[in-house]
Symmetry: C2
Subunit: 118 residues, 2 copies
DNA sequence: CGGTATCCCTTCCGATACTG
DNA sequence: CAGTATCGGAAGGGATACCG
């Protein structure tokens, strides 16, 4: 999903969004940060199963793409806070709709009976 | 993005949507099909650079996930038409917003000057 | 606390050639 | 026309251990 950076002379710009948000934990992070600023450790604790390596990587990529802002406080012990940029906050509606869509998807395809190729 | 099928007892269902829509060509396909039913060859011609193998795979996965409906007409030469299910059409708003977001993202991060880690 | 470094496996996905 | 078969590279991402 990465590698070809947003070079889409295409008709449809959906893929641009996907290149930026397509990572395994990207939207989950944005979702958390929509609720407010978080420290590294907070995110790590609240995102079930993520390794520090992955959290760092995804945060750095979101930062480079202008979605997340990283603030380092020169204290001991170190404190680093992550928040959304304006661009990041502009994902509010979309993330909300995706969350709702996923929710109702799990309903309609009632997980009790659903096979779900696995 | 695939493999762990929609098993998210989590707080946020965004990842469910991502597992379904996260493929390289998935949303581009949905985007096309939102404009109406298409035949295999039509999609292939209109989606720049996609190989038949990839088109088949992504269509099949979308079908298994209940997004796309596949209709085979027993004719010679063969004709197969792809359209969206109700679930697929329910992505209309989201796809539109993602498209708009990608578009304005490319603007704000004016591609003329933007470095874009590559 | 907030990360890195290393290793390695899996999945994705593109190229190419072939088929009913 | 609408696919399949096979191959192989590359990116994504998890486990574990260590660092300033």
């Amino acid at each position: 999903m990465r590698g070809k950076r947003h070079d889409k002379p295409d008709n449809c710009m959906v893929e641009v969004a996907m290149e930026i948000l397509g990572g395994r934990w990207k939207l989950a992070i944005v979702y958390k940060l929509l609720q407010g600023t978080h420290r590294f450790g907070e995110l790590k604790r609240e995102m079930d199963g993520i390794t520090p390596r992955m959290l760092t990587r995804q945060l750095r990529e979101l930062e480079e793409d202008g979605i997340v802002a990283r603030t380092v406080y020169p204290e001991v012990p170190p404190r680093v806070e992550y928040s959304l940029t304006d661009t990041g906050r502009s994902l509010d509606t979309i993330v909300g709709l995706l969350d709702g869509w996923g929710r109702s998807y799990l309903d309609n395809h009632h997980p009790s009976a659903g096979p779900g190729r696995n």
